[in-house]
């Protein structure tokens, strides 16, 4: 019985970390001023939150049922692999389609680099 309580406490800590990071990324998605800063908030924080949540679920099924779920391992690996790729492609699409930066930004290094083939 006490072992069950300890496993629930460990799983609850992982789920709490994951949920807090997802909620913070949502707050960043609302409050930040720009596409690029919003992508910065969303990609890192939300992917870390979902990784912690999936690892908590994996630990729960491993401890409570003795069930080694290879699908959750694959899900963790896949989210870890694809989340930065999605953020990179969306940022590149936003810059190439001339979404402007926020007013507070001071420097745009890509402008002189991509200045020749501006659409």
């Amino acid at each position: 019985m006490s072992e069950n309580i300890y496993s629930e406490i460990i799983v609850a800590i992982f789920l709490l970390i994951g949920t807090i990071f997802s909620f913070l990324s949502a707050i960043g998605l609302i409050r930040l001023p720009d596409v690029y800063t919003r992508a910065h908030a969303v990609s890192k924080s939300a992917s870390l939150g979902v990784l912690c949540t999936l690892f908590g679920a994996f630990l729960f099924f491993l401890i409570a049922d003795g069930y080694f779920s290879i699908r959750l391992i694959l899900g963790i690996f896949f989210v870890f692999l694809t989340s930065p790729v999605v953020a990179h492609l969306l940022n590149r699409a936003a810059y190439r389609s001339n979404v402007e930066l926020a007013k507070e930004s001071v420097q745009d290094d890509l402008k002189e680099f991509l200045g020749g083939n501006e659409k």
Partner: protein, 94 residues
């Protein structure tokens, strides 16, 4: 107690999905909306994982992989469409 905690986690995930939905509706540019939709997909993965703990079943773990792959493919297609105007390019005939 543990079930109540899991329901609290689901409540906060629902709040973050609502925030992303606000960004989908109001977002000034097109990549904003696509990024918020991708964030909704990621939060949905975490929601399915918490729900499968809450119901004590293994049956939903395929859904996690499925939502991940579908969200990735859809977001890549939208990014290519925003950048180049087409999703699948044709081969040039010399």
């Amino acid at each position: 107690m543990f079930n109540l905690f899991l329901m609290g986690c689901l409540f906060f995930l629902t709040l973050s999905i609502m925030a992303a939905l606000y960004r989908v509706i109001k977002g000034p540019s097109m990549p904003d909306r696509v990024m918020a939709l991708d964030n909704i997909g990621v939060n949905l993965i975490a929601g399915v994982a918490i729900l499968s703990i809450l119901l004590r079943t293994h049956a939903f773990l395929d859904i996690i992989l499925l939502i991940g792959i579908l969200s990735f493919v859809g977001t890549i297609a939208f990014a290519r469409f925003i950048e180049r105007g087409v999703v699948i390019e044709r081969k040039h005939i010399q």
